[in-house]
Amino acid sequence: MPEVVLKWLSFIPICIFTALIAEHLFIHTTAGVTIHWMYLAVLVPTVLIAIWTKSLSLTVLVGVMLMGTARWLF
């Protein structure tokens, strides 16, 4: 397989993961496409936890708890 194709394929995972996050971050409202602020507010600490713990399960656990808390508070 040509080098270029391999390279292209190697970028696919980070692109897809970002796309799927962006899909929820940007929402359609009557005013157009805007940022889902609560989602962003939970996403930032979740990303920090991911960087800090390097753990999939911990990140998901904390993220879910933060979102549950955010929904409950607002």
Partner: protein, 241 residues
């Protein structure tokens, strides 16, 4: 190297299949926690326990299963889901190509068996075994693969049962599990990038956000996902030194 390696062959009795199972054990916790998380995410993506079990049996690929859920939730057409899954799993072609030369003495049917159940983790364990022993045994590989496969199916199904048991997933924030998973996978991927390439990869992440934001004004989200990905991956190739 071969002679030395043979002197140090570890054995669990004389049965390579059992040894394969044993060598799989350290990776099982990882499989089971992600599998369990998938079961829960599957439920919040409106899948039934049956569908979760079948996905884990037929797809048997963590990241892809999560991506499929995300695409289903946004109502993507089947073609888009199949195409995306194919692209995401294409790296398995590379993993298999790397392992294949070590299994040439086994039949095509056996090799198909090795390949079908290949995962990133089993690839890692096999490469490690190869470094220790100098060669790979077919029964060992089957032991490794089948153990992981069965654990995965069990974990996903259990997660599904647990998720189903919780009556209101949104209130608990469970629907965020998918996004948290993608965030974690993204960070983990970026952490394996060599330092001098990190800025480049981060710029791709930025371009993805920009591309998605723009595209979402014009096309449905599943199209935006595909278009943005293809576009930015291409930019990545062009701008990479």
């Amino acid at each position: 190297m071969d002679v030395e390696a043979r002197k140090h062959i570890p054995t669990a009795g004389n049965e390579p299949f059992l040894e394969g199972i044993k060598d799989c054990v350290p990776t099982l916790l990882g499989y089971m926690s992600i599998g369990f998380a998938f079961g829960i995410v599957g439920i919040s993506s409106q899948l039934s326990i049956w569908e979760i079990a079948l996905l884990s049996i037929f797809i048997y690929a963590g990241a892809s299963q999560f991506i499929i859920c995300a695409l289903l939730v946004t109502g993507s057409p089947l073609s888009a889901i199949i195409f995306t899954t194919f692209i995401v799993n294409l790296r398995h072609l590379l993993l298999s190509l790397t392992l294949a030369p070590h299994f040439t003495r086994y039949s095509v049917k056996q090799n198909i068996g090795f390949g079908l159940l290949l995962t990133d983790e089993s690839f890692g364990v096999a490469m490690n075994k190869l470094a220790q022993q100098g060669k790979l045994n077919n029964r060992w590989m089957h032991g490794l693969n089948i153990t992981a496969y069965l654990c995965w199916i069990a974990a996903c199904t259990l997660g599904g049962i647990f998720g189903h048991w919780i009556s209101n997933p949104e209130a608990l924030g469970l629907d965020f599990a998918l996004s948290a998973m993608f965030a974690a996978l993204l960070i983990l991927s970026l952490q394996t990038v060599p330092k001098n390439k990190l800025t480049h990869r981060l710029s791709l992440v930025l371009y993805m956000f920009v591309a998605m934001f723009v595209l979402l004004h014009f096309v449905p989200s599943h199209v935006a996902v595909l278009l943005a990905t293809v576009l930015v991956a291409t930019i990545g190739v062009v701008t990479d030194k």
